[in-house]
């Protein structure tokens, strides 16, 4: 498949994620949308890795071009997991205090 299809899919997922972060007011859903953004990036990285490999393998059969992007995906997954653990802890802490996960409560800070 041409790379454009992957780019289109990944950018669609990414835009859904960004729109969700900007529009939704439930902290958990905002959080899920952020994860969606990260996963769109993972998809894009793997697709690019394959693309660069396919370009390089025509001139050198033993090339390792593209492996770095796949390694990067693992790093993103690990960091995302660490972020999830901290983020969910923060959301639970907030829920214990105000019994809601609505971000609009944040506006109280401004007054």
């Amino acid at each position: 498949m041409p790379i454009q299809y992957y780019i289109a899919l990944a950018s669609c997922l990414f835009c859904i994620g960004v729109a969700g972060v900007l529009i939704r007011r439930n902290a958990i859903i905002v959080f899920m949308c952020i994860e969606l953004m990260l996963n769109a990036v993972n998809l894009l990285l793997v697709a690019f890795s394959k693309m660069h490999y396919a370009n390089a393998v025509t001139s050198d059969a033993k090339t390792i071009v593209g492996t770095d992007a796949q390694l990067f995906v693992f790093f993103i997954m690990v960091v995302a997991a660490a972020e999830v653990s901290v983020g969910l802890a923060i959301i639970v802490m907030m829920y214990r205090n105000i019994h809601s996960v609505d971000i609009n409560f944040l506006n109280r800070l401004k007054n």
Binding site: M37, L38, N97, I98, L106, K110
Partner: protein
């Protein structure tokens, strides 16, 4: 390399200390000794005495600039722990963990000052940010702290998502994560590859602007800085922010400094600078709480630090280091006094000069340094920033804008001085120990010393 590995190791060591030691005071002393060792190890590393020989395959690049910034960051943290260590203990029950998180943040900071690969940039930003989310929410019963933590976390994770998209697109365009290879990528602006690369760099720019709170991506800053416990705001607003700038300037030096081509990067920075200075300075004027005023002033100071991105010459590199030191030390000093005040609104400072003359005098030195009055470190920091832009020959109008906004900033800093010296009142403070007093006096003396001899820091860059 010393600083990266030792800071992580000290973090783990502090974790073990939390099991073994029940005495809160000794934890603070262990942390300050560990910071001192870290500082010495980093200086030794600067002169080639590295303890760990690890082949990073070009993912990390150690140079004098990054090393000196490490020293400044670790030194500022040392000052911070000495001055406000007792307040860290009062924040909550898990004292050792706060020091652990501070060491982990330092690990991220030292990684950011030496990254040479987009992967290490990402890891550095995350290692620096994730502990900070926890520190922001460390006052668990306080609703403001909770909400600040949630807001900081969501904004931080969102900007990380943007950064990753930027990295992925840059990779799609150039086929590498290595900064050196990105730099030498053929400069042809046509086809899919260059389109992806430009888009990726723009995403990276936006996410870094989020991290250093440059307008129009600053909106999370006042709420987060205001809501977080004051001791940790002090840490967030100084060392972490300066590290963000070091990462930003290294990223810009790669490719985001061309004026020819599709995107005029310098023009983007100029717009960012004007917007940041405008928003930070004008909004700070109207604040009644000193803590919130400092949050906006940190946005305004970020505007000045952004000047180095336009010029990117030797003066800019010297200037950003001097700025990092001057701004960090002065802000740490102001916050050290702020956490001792019972009322942190402007009225709370009324008449401080009568009851606590030493605190009022040192606070005045810190405020003068932030506003850039001569004979303080802040003056030379601002001077280097503006001189660097003048040296490039273009964007002279930006210097005039900078000077004008520096004049505006004098107004709101002087309001605090006016409250302390010329207004009647009975300010309530916590118990001020003599050692704290000598600490802030020494810090004020250091700031004046740096204001007279800025080369005390800059010489480290060359000798």
């Amino acid at each position: 390399m010393n600083a990266i590995i030792l800071s992580a190791a000290f973090g783990v060591m502090m974790m073990l200390c939390s099991f073994l030691l029940k005495n809160k005071g000794s934890l603070r002393h262990i942390a300050s000794i560990a910071l001192l060792i870290l500082l010495v190890a980093n200086i030794a590393d600067t002169y080639g005495h590295t303890m760990f020989l690890i082949n990073t395959h070009g993912m990390l690049l150690f140079n004098r600039f990054g090393m000196l910034f490490n020293s400044i960051a670790i030194g500022s943290t040392f000052v911070y722990v000495l001055l406000t260590g007792k307040e860290i203990e009062k924040t909550g029950t898990y004292v050792a963990e706060y020091f652990v998180l501070i060491f982990f943040v330092l690990c991220g900071v030292t990684l950011l000052s030496s990254y040479n690969n987009l992967l290490t940039l990402f890891l550095g930003i995350e290692i620096m940010s994730i502990p900070l989310y926890i520190l922001t929410g460390s006052d668990k019963r306080n609703m403001k702290s909770n909400e600040a933590a949630l807001k900081y976390f969501l904004m931080g994770a969102f900007s990380t998502g943007l950064m990753l998209m930027g990295i992925a697109l840059t990779y799609g365009g150039t086929g590498t994560f290595n900064m050196e290879a990105v730099r030498t990528f053929p400069n042809i602006y046509k086809g899919l590859a260059s389109f992806l690369e430009i888009l990726g760099l723009l995403f990276l720019l936006v996410s870094m602007a989020f991290k250093v709170s440059a307008a129009p991506f600053h909106f999370w800053t006042p709420d987060v800085y205001d809501g977080a416990p004051s001791v940790f705001t002090s840490f967030m607003a100084t060392i972490v922010k300066a590290a963000g700038f070091i990462a930003f300037i290294k990223l810009c030096a790669v490719r985001m400094n061309e004026t020819s081509g599709v995107v005029n990067w310098q023009m983007i920075y100029a717009i960012l600078i004007v917007a940041t200075l405008l928003v930070g300075n004008i909004t700070a004027v109207f604040q009644q709480s000193v803590k919130r005023m400092l949050a906006y002033s940190s946005i305004a100071q970020a505007g000045f630090m952004l000047f180095s991105l336009i010029s990117l010459n030797d003066l800019a590199y010297e200037g950003i280091l001097l700025y990092a030191a001057a701004y960090s030390l002065a802000t740490i000093g102001i916050f050290a006094i702020l956490v001792k005040m019972k009322d942190i609104s402007l009225e709370g400072y009324n008449g401080l000069a009568k009851t606590q003359p030493a605190l009022a005098a040192t606070n005045m030195v810190f405020l003068l340094s932030l506003s850039g009055i001569p004979l303080t470190a802040g003056f030379f920091a601002k001077y280097y920033m503006l001189a660097a832009v003048l040296k490039t020959g273009t964007y002279t109008w930006l210097v005039i804008v900078g000077v004008l906004f520096a004049a505006v900033s004098v107004y709101y800093y002087f309001r605090v001085i006016q409250a302390m010296y010329f207004k009647e009142g009975n300010p309530q403070t916590e118990v001020i120990t003599p050692s704290f007093k000598y600490g802030v006096i020494a810090l004020a003396a250091l700031i004046i010393l740096l204001g007279i001899f800025p080369n005390l820091i800059l010489n480290w860059l060359y000798f």
